[in-house]
C-alpha cells in the first residue's frame, strides 16, 4: 500500500504542477480503485502534496499563482469527495472566517486559502468581498472561530482604518484577542514583510498555500 501512496502522490503532484486537473483526479481515482482508503488519500496524498508545495515555494520560489490555485481547488475537491467515505467522522482542526478587507474586491487569494484549509480539514466560513471589520468579528464570535483571515490586494485597504487595524481594535475592546487570532495576506504584504505588524495582525502568509500552514499554527495557539 505504501508503494501505491508513493506512486499516487508523485502522479498527483506532477499533474498539479502542470495545472492539469483531469490528470490529478484520475490519479486519485486510480488509487481508490486499487483499494487506497479515503483517509489515506487525504492525509497521505493530498496534505503532503500541499506541504511539499509550501517547501518548494520557500526553497526556490518555484510555483506560480496558477499552480497555487489549481492545488487548492483540486485538494479541496478531493477532500470533500473523500470525507463522507471516512470510516470515522473527521476531526475538525478548527474554524476560520475569511474575507477581503472593506473596499477590496479582489477574491483570488482568499479562494486559494479557502481551498487549502478545506483540504486540511479546517472549517471555513467565507464572508466574501468588501467585508466590514464588525462583520469579521461578529462572524468569528458566532461561529466560534479561532482565526480571522483578512485578504487585501491594495495598499490602502491593507493599511486603512477600516481594515485589520479596526478588527484588532474591536477584538481588543471585546477582550477576545487571546481567543481569536488574525492573519493577513495579499500583494501589499509581499512587498513589505513588516506590514503585518503595522496593521496589528498576528501573522501573514506570502501565498495562499503557505497560509494553510500558518493558520494551523494560529489555531493551535488560540486553543492552547
Amino acid at each position: 500500500m505504501n508503494e501505491l501512496v508513493t506512486a499516487t502522490t508523485r502522479k498527483f503532484t506532477e499533474a498539479i504542477l502542470d495545472t492539469d486537473r483531469e490528470r490529478a483526479l484520475q490519479a486519485v481515482q486510480y488509487a481508490v480503485d486499487q483499494g487506497l482508503m479515503p483517509e489515506d488519500v487525504v492525509f497521505r496524498v493530498v496534505i503532503p502534496t500541499i506541504d511539499r508545495m509550501v517547501r518548494s515555494i520557500s526553497e526556490n520560489f518555484g510555483a506560480s499563482l496558477a499552480q497555487h490555485f489549481i492545488t487548492s481547488q483540486i485538494a479541496a475537491e478531493v477532500t470533500e469527495q473523500m470525507i463522507p467515505k471516512f470510516k470515522q467522522r473527521k476531526n475538525v482542526i478548527g474554524h476560520v472566517v475569511i474575507g477581503t478587507s472593506q473596499g477590496d474586491f479582489h477574491g483570488l487569494g482568499k479562494r486559494i486559502v479557502t481551498g487549502c484549509l478545506k483540504a486540511m480539514t479546517i472549517d471555513v466560513t467565507d464572508l466574501g468581498l468588501n467585508v466590514s471589520p464588525q462583520r469579521f468579528v461578529e462572524a468569528a464570535i458566532e461561529g466560534k472561530a479561532q482565526v480571522i483571515g483578512i485578504s487585501s490586494m491594495m495598499i490602502h485597504t491593507a493599511r486603512g482604518e477600516t481594515g485589520c487595524l479596526r478588527v484588532r481594535k474591536i477584538l481588543q475592546d471585546a477582550g477576545m484577542e487571546h481567543k481569536i487570532k488574525i492573519i493577513v495576506g495579499g500583494a501589499p504584504y509581499r512587498y513589505d514583510h513588516e506590514l503585518y505588524k503595522m496593521v496589528k495582525a498576528d501573522a501573514w502568509a506570502d501565498n495562499g498555500i503557505e497560509a494553510g500552514e500558518v493558520i494551523s499554527k494560529l489555531i493551535r495557539e488560540a486553543t492552547s
Binding site: R21, S64, L65, G103, I155, H156, T157
Partner: protein
C-alpha cells in the same frame, strides 16, 4: 535645456545625457495636488492633465501620464460602476461578465475614440500633447488580452476559466480582449501617447507556469501586438517578476523596454537583457510610505549601482501609493538625480 525626451532617447541609444531618465508614476496624487476628492479629480481630462503637468514641473522627473485609473478599460467595455476610495486607487465595482453567456454577448466597440468613457482621457492627452508633446514622454496604460478578463469577470472566475476551460469560451473571451487591445493601443497612439505600458500579469511566471507562458502568453501577446508593432511599448507585468521570460520576449516579440518588478534581481535582469533593450529598475514604492530618508537614499544607490553600468537604464516606480509622504517622493527623486548624473 535638456528634456525628458532627450534623456530617454539617450538611454535608448546607449549614449549619455545629464542624468538617467526617471519615470515617476504619480497618478492618484493628482487629486491631492489640485486639492479635490479622487472622484471629482478623475471626472475631467482637464484636471488630470493639469495635475500631471504641475507634478512633473514641481518634482522635475521625465514623464507624464494619460492614465486615470485601470478600471477605465472596463468602462470602455460596458462597466458602469467604479468605486472610489478616499485615499487609494478606484476599484471596478461591477463585473460586466457574470456568466459564459455574457462572454458570447460581449461586444468590442467599433470606435473607441467616440466612446463616452474615452472622452476625458482624450481631452487629457490633447492638453498634454499641446503642452509637453515631444519634450516629455506621454505614457498610456494598455492591459494585455490575457489580463484584461480579470477586470471583466473577476480574477477568480478568470483563473478558473483560464486553467480549467471550457477552452472555446476562454479563447472567445481572449479573442475579444485582444481585438479590444488592438483598437485601444491604436487609439492611444493616434492621440499622441509616446510610451505604451503593456500591462500583463499573465506575462510573468509568478502568475502562470513556464509551459503555459510558452503555449498561451506568447501566442496572445503576438496576436495583441501584430498589427501595431512594438514601437514605444514597455513590457510590464503589473509588479510581478519578469527575469525568467525576458529572453523569450525579446526573441519572439521584439519588445525593447523592460519595466522590471521591484522583486526581480536588477543586476540579473540587466545581465539577461545584455544591451538588447532598455532596462527600467523599479523601486519598491510601498516601502516608500515608511522608509526613513536614509533608507530611501541607500536603496536608490543600491539600485543605481546595479542598473547603471553599461547604460541603457532608467529609474522607475510602480503606481505610487497615495499615502507616500511628499518629502519621501522628493528624497527619492533627489537621490536619483544626484547618483544618476552622468
Amino acid at each position: 535645456m535638456i528634456t525628458g525626451m532627450d534623456r530617454l532617447t539617450a538611454a535608448v541609444n546607449g549614449t549619455t545625457s545629464d542624468r538617467i531618465p526617471v519615470f515617476c508614476n504619480l497618478i492618484d496624487q493628482g487629486a491631492k495636488e489640485l486639492g479635490m476628492p479622487l472622484k471629482q479629480y478623475f471626472s475631467k481630462g482637464e484636471y488630470v492633465a493639469e495635475a500631471q503637468l504641475r507634478m512633473r514641473e514641481k518634482y522635475g522627473y521625465d514623464n507624464v501620464w494619460s492614465l486615470f485609473y485601470v478600471g477605465k478599460e472596463a468602462e470602455l467595455l460596458g462597466c458602469r460602476r467604479i468605486i472610489f476610495a478616499a485615499e487609494g486607487s478606484p476599484n471596478v465595482g461591477e463585473m460586466i461578465l457574470k456568466n459564459y453567456d455574457d462572454i458570447h454577448k460581449l461586444q468590442v466597440p467599433d470606435d473607441l475614440t467616440g466612446h463616452p468613457a474615452f472622452e476625458e482621457p482624450l481631452k487629457c492627452l490633447k492638453i498634454l500633447r499641446k503642452e509637453v508633446g515631444g519634450r516629455y514622454p506621454i505614457c498610456a496604460y494598455v492591459t494585455a488580452s490575457m489580463t484584461l478578463p480579470a477586470m471583466l469577470i473577476g480574477m477568480e472566475k478568470w483563473m478558473e476559466l483560464f486553467l480549467l476551460g471550457p477552452a472555446e469560451v476562454r479563447d472567445e473571451l481572449l479573442t475579444k480582449c485582444s481585438d479590444f487591445f488592438r483598437k485601444e493601443i491604436e487609439a492611444y497612439r493616434a492621440a499622441g501617447a509616446d510610451i505604451l505600458v503593456y500591462a500583463n500579469a499573465f506575462g510573468s511566471t509568478d502568475f502562470i507556469p513556464m509551459n503555459l507562458f510558452r503555449e498561451r502568453s506568447l501566442y496572445w501577446m503576438k496576436r495583441d501586438l501584430q498589427p501595431g508593432g512594438t514601437n514605444g511599448l514597455v513590457y510590464y507585468c503589473g509588479g510581478a517578476r519578469m527575469n525568467p521570460v525576458i529572453d523569450q520576449v525579446i526573441e519572439q516579440l521584439g519588445i525593447t523596454t523592460f519595466y522590471l518588478s521591484p522583486l526581480d534581481d536588477l543586476a540579473e535582469g540587466k545581465k539577461i537583457i545584455n544591451g538588447r533593450a532598455l532596462t527600467c529598475g523599479v523601486i519598491n514604492d510601498i516601502k516608500l510610505i515608511d522608509w526613513s530618508k536614509e533608507e530611501i537614499r541607500t536603496e536608490v544607490k543600491r539600485m543605481l549601482a546595479a542598473g547603471m553600468p553599461g547604460g541603457k537604464f532608467l529609474f522607475g516606480t510602480l503606481v505610487m501609493p497615495y499615502a507616500i509622504p511628499e518629502e519621501n517622493i522628493r528624497t527619492m527623486l533627489e537621490a536619483v538625480y544626484e547618483t544618476g548624473s552622468q
